[in-house]
């Protein structure tokens, strides 16, 4: 016991990404106070350097897999996959935001610090091996994202978004914590493996109680992944928050939340899967239907993408419902493909919205193909990927998810999910229609996108296409790293 009282250097190495991110974020906050205004340009490069270092550390840590800090964290392929993913999303967010912040006259270090903290929290979620760490990671990520959602504090829409997000988010987290308390009370442990052992023992805690606890925790998770019926916040928040932040919120925290959902339900709660699979079945279907059918009605593109991201959470829930190794791998692949696709779409929206985000209606995209064909082509790639047209990451993601679902004999869920994706094509096509088939309306000139934003857009597009044409590499990794 005493020999392991102090963490070994290997354990520090395993959490190096989180440490780097925290240090760099803190450094930015310090510099914010010291530097003069004209020197504040350095924040974005510093943040990028920090994220790159964390990315390298996360990949390196995969070479020394194992647990850390008395099994509180576990670094395995699954954790590495999600750490790399959320860090990459963080980098894209930095690229997409620099010019945005300048445009909105709100340059500042704390934005980057918050992004880094948010990513730190997501990394902790990806590696958490017990309920308290899950909660801590979730809170680090959430608190940073509440502030990010309201970053432009003079903007009423931002304030509304942040307040809604915060109030509803805290409420949902309380459910999560309540569930954690129940589990701890009945099993005497917060460690996921230990809980699983307890639940597997015959004559252990009653299924009714653990099932209820699992359901309470699911409320908290479902809120974070915006699954029906806990999705109502998402459209308001994504619409009100700054566009690059909406993009970030719709992918990063969601991926991390799915990581903990997968880990908790496929490890700790695996013995009681007969109780939660039907719940998730209904939840997945409801999420897809709510997201898709509400999106059809939307005229604001941020709101439309918000509902679409709800629908996509539904598809990933199908993979979770499959409750299998293949399902886990499919969810991982889908989240990666979806992350780049959806973030890319939001990056283009950031660009077209112009100063003050006055152009976020679907009609404002009219004639984009004639004004800026490259941007229109990129948005086309993202939308086709969201529809699930072959040769894009979104298609393979859907394919693997429904394959996993059929493997687990979820025939009806598969059929209904696929029909849902056909419905979804309708509202994505609407955007293509205005971009390509309507003539541009005379409106404020659209200046060409800045280089940083272009990197974010093209980077996302390349990732989307690579995942669609050569998915083997990512899928192999996901299959090996999938939870068993």
């Amino acid at each position: 016991m005493d020999s392991s009282l102090f963490p070994t250097s290997a354990e520090y190495f395993r959490i190096l990404p989180e440490m780097i991110l925290t240090v760099v974020a803190t450094l930015i906050m310090f510099l914010e106070a010291i530097l003069k205004d004209w020197q504040k340009r350095v924040f974005a490069p510093i943040a990028l350097a920090g994220l790159t270092a964390a990315l390298v550390a996360a990949i390196a840590a995969n070479g020394s897999q194992g647990t850390a800090f008395h099994d509180m964290l576990v670094i395995d392929g699954f954790a590495t996959f999600f750490r790399v993913l959320v860090i990459a999303v963080g980098m894209l967010a930095v690229f997409a935001s620099t010019e945005y912040l300048k445009r909105e006259a709100h340059p500042g270090g704390e934005f980057y610090a918050l992004v880094l903290f948010c990513v730190t929290g997501q990394c902790v979620m990806a590696t958490a091996n017990e309920l308290i760490m899950i909660f801590i990671g979730l809170e680090i990520s959430s608190i940073a994202s509440y502030i990010l959602a309201g970053y432009l504090r003079d903007d009423a829409r931002n304030n509304e978004a942040a307040l809604k997000y915060f109030l509803l988010g805290s409420f949902a987290t309380a459910f999560l914590l309540f569930g954690v308390a129940w589990i701890y009370g009945y099993t005497g442990s917060t460690n996921l493996m230990e809980i699983r052992r307890q639940l597997e023992t015959p004559g252990g805690p009653s299924v009714l109680i653990t099932g209820t606890a699992a359901a309470l925790m699911f409320v908290g998770f479902a809120f974070k992944i915006s699954a029906a019926p806990f999705q109502v916040w998402a459209p308001d928040v994504y619409q009100g928050a700054p566009a690059p932040v909406s993009g970030f919120l719709s992918v990063g925290p969601k991926a991390a939340a799915f990581a903990i959902l997968l880990r908790t339900y496929l490890t700790a709660f695996a013995p009681i899967s007969r109780q939660w699979v039907p719940v998730l079945w209904i939840c997945a279907l409801a999420t897809m239907i709510v997201g898709n059918f509400a999106a059809i009605q939307q005229s604001n593109i941020k709101r439309l993408l918000a509902y679409s991201s709800i629908a996509h959470a539904g598809y990933v829930l199908v993979a979770v419902t499959a409750n299998s190794e293949i399902g886990s791998a499919a969810a991982m692949f889908y989240l990666a493909a979806y992350a780049f696709t959806n973030f890319g779409a939001f990056a283009v929206v950031t660009h077209v919205a112009r100063k003050g985000e006055r152009y976020t209606k679907v009609e404002d995209f009219a004639g984009l193909a004639q004004k800026q064909p490259a941007m229109a082509a990129m948005l086309t790639i993202f939308l086709l990927s969201l529809i699930g047209v072959p040769l894009t990451g979104g298609f393979f993601g859907k394919f693997y998810i429904f394959k996993a679902a059929l493997d687990s004999h979820l025939v009806w869920l598969t059929v209904l999910g696929l029909l849902n994706s056909a419905v979804a094509a309708y509202y994505y096509l609407r955007i293509l229609v205005v971009m390509y088939m309507k003539d541009p309306e005379p409106s404020e000139a659209l200046p060409p996108a800045g280089p940083a934003l272009q990197i974010a857009v093209y980077g996302s597009a390349i990732a989307t296409l690579v995942l669609g044409i050569f998915p083997s590499f990512v899928l192999d990794f996901a299959s090996k790293a999938a939870l068993k």
Binding site: A369, Q370, L384, I387, V389, P390, L391, F395, F399, F402, K403, L406, D407, T414, V415, L418, L419, S421, A422, A425, Y426, L429, R430, L432, V433, Y436, M437, F470, P471, S472, L475, D476, S479
Partner: protein, 498 residues
């Protein structure tokens, strides 16, 4: 990398090249590229047993498996022939955003060829969906007034059908462990993959639904008139001539051999729908005031023959069906082109806007008449052979069907000749006389190959039919053999039971 890969991948390369060609050179570039592809593809005629089988994705094992046989050979050639023709008819017609137009046209060619040569179910699905995107843009950007409605309807119909096919493909993979068509086929033949009758029926319906929408089979045809009327001429030509064949090709290639028992079980109502389509399409065509709509409904009628032939399960019926696919591609493609020629002169698709066109434009009238007669099924022109074979095949199954289907042949003469009469004969109004001029050199060049083919295919079937028959015999053998084997398998058990 063999000749087949070249024919498949050249359009993709051409598409990418076109993106970087200056705007003014795009149509010339597209013409050169598509003609080049056509010339290369002609070399396929000599050696139609090419195939390539290379890994694409390791797990699940998806392979780049393409091959060509008597069934796909002519459809590929039809595609490569019609693409340069489509470029030629768009030469003046497409006056804005030319570069995008030609890029999409070449991308469409890539998708279509891919559909016809894929031997991996997954790859097939990928190409099937790829075709959707360029056609959607072709209709939506360069179409007529209600183009957006038509484009979205087209996309959603096809998408809704194809997602179920995707589910069926995944299910087949889960059962067999492979996406490879020939591998799955051999598993089914040898009984290693035994599907229960109910499963087989559901899988069959999932594939069939997707193909039937594309054909389109009555009552799933409602997207077709909209798409055809609104599409630009080149879009209509590619849609009618090649894209609809994706559906019938899928029926022959996949539905019959993979699910023979279900296909036999469903044949009666599918044939009934096909005959309904033949007559319904013809009747609706008769009352259309709009030329393009008339031709579109005539397509519904003609493709009913194809489906009827396929589900007769006879050598003649199947040969006729495949031949009729090519015939329809040639003659309906030509009809859409000619209607496009008229539209470019008079800017109207209403039959009533014309009359007496034969006086100012005699050559156009002659060419139109030949095409009309071909479409009706006049002996010595191509459609006659196809329709005759289909009816002959159907006669083995039921004379009643033949009687009803034959009504469609008669009706086709009515609506086509009536349209011809109202358009070309009579006294030319002032507007017609003023606007009409005869065929230009470019227009001649685009239509002549098709006219030549109508005569060739109508008089010398030896060029085309042997390869088709050979492949059809194989498909029929697969379809029949399994039936017999299953029966034989059951017999000893039954005997033991007794």
């Amino acid at each position: 990398m063999n000749l087949l890969d070249a024919v498949l991948l050249l359009p993709l390369a051409g598409f990418l090249a076109l993106l970087f060609v200056p705007k003014t050179a795009s149509r010339m570039g597209a013409l050169v590229i598509s003609l080049g592809i056509f010339v290369v593809s002609l070399a396929l005629i000599g050696n139609h047993s090419l195939s390539t089988n290379a890994p694409w994705i390791d797990y699940p094992p998806i392979r780049y498996h393409v091959s060509i046989d008597g069934l796909s050979l002519w459809l590929v050639l039809l595609t490569t022939l019609l693409t340069p023709i489509a470029v030629a008819v768009s030469w003046k017609y497409i006056d804005h955003r030319q570069k995008e137009f030609y890029a999409f046209l070449i991308l469409l060619e890539f998708g279509l060829i891919g559909v016809f040569v894929s031997m991996d179910l997954f790859l097939f699905y990928v190409f099937w969906e790829i075709c959707l995107v360029p056609m959607y843009f072709l209709i939506g950007i360069w179409g007529h007034d209600r183009r957006i409605y038509a484009a979205v309807k087209f996309f959603l119909y096809t998408m809704a059908g194809s997602v179920l096919m995707l589910a069926a493909i995944i299910y087949l993979y889960n059962q067999s462990g492979t996406f490879d068509y020939s591998e799955i086929l051999s598993q089914i033949q040898t009984g290693r993959l035994a599907l229960s009758p109910r499963t087989e029926l559901l899988l069959f319906l999932a594939f069939f639904g997707s193909f039937a929408i594309k054909v389109p089979l009555f009552p799933l045809h409602t997207w077709l008139p909209d798409a055809h009327v609104e599409a630009p001429t080149a879009g209509s030509v590619m849609l009618a001539s090649v894209m609809l064949k994706m559906g019938t090709y899928g029926l022959v290639r996949f539905c019959l051999p993979l699910f023979p028992n279900a296909a036999h079980r469903c044949a009666w109502w599918i044939s009934a729908l096909a005959i309904t389509g033949i007559i319904y399409g013809a009747l609706v065509a008769m009352v259309q005031p709009n030329m393009k709509k008339l031709v579109a409904y005539s397509s519904v009628s003609h493709l009913g023959f194809v489906v009827l032939g396929i589900f007769s399960f006879t050598q003649q019926g199947l040969d006729g069906a495949v031949y009729q696919m090519l015939n329809h591609g040639v003659s309906t493609g030509a009809l859409f082109m000619l209607v496009g020629y008229l539209y470019e002169r008079r800017h109207s698709l209403e039959i009533s806007a014309y009359g007496g066109v034969a006086t100012p434009a005699p050559n156009l009238a002659t060419v139109f008449l030949i095409t009309t007669l071909a479409s009706i099924g006049l002996p010595t022109l191509n459609n006659f052979i196809g329709e005759f074979l289909v009816l002959q095949g159907a006669a083995y199954v039921s004379m009643t069907w033949v009687a009803f289907a034959a009504i469609g042949v008669i009706l086709s003469a009515c609506y086509m000749l009536w349209m011809y009469q109202r358009t070309f004969y009579g006294k030319a109004s002032e507007g017609v006389a003023h606007h009409m001029h005869d065929l230009t050199g470019r227009e001649w060049a685009a239509i002549l190959p098709l006219i030549a083919l109508m005569v060739w295919m109508g008089t010398y079937t030896q060029t085309f039919l042997p390869a088709i028959s050979e492949q059809n015999a194989r498909i029929l053998e697969n379809t029949q053999k399994l039936k017999i084997e299953r029966v034989q398998l059951q017999t000893p058990e039954v005997a033991r039971g007794q």
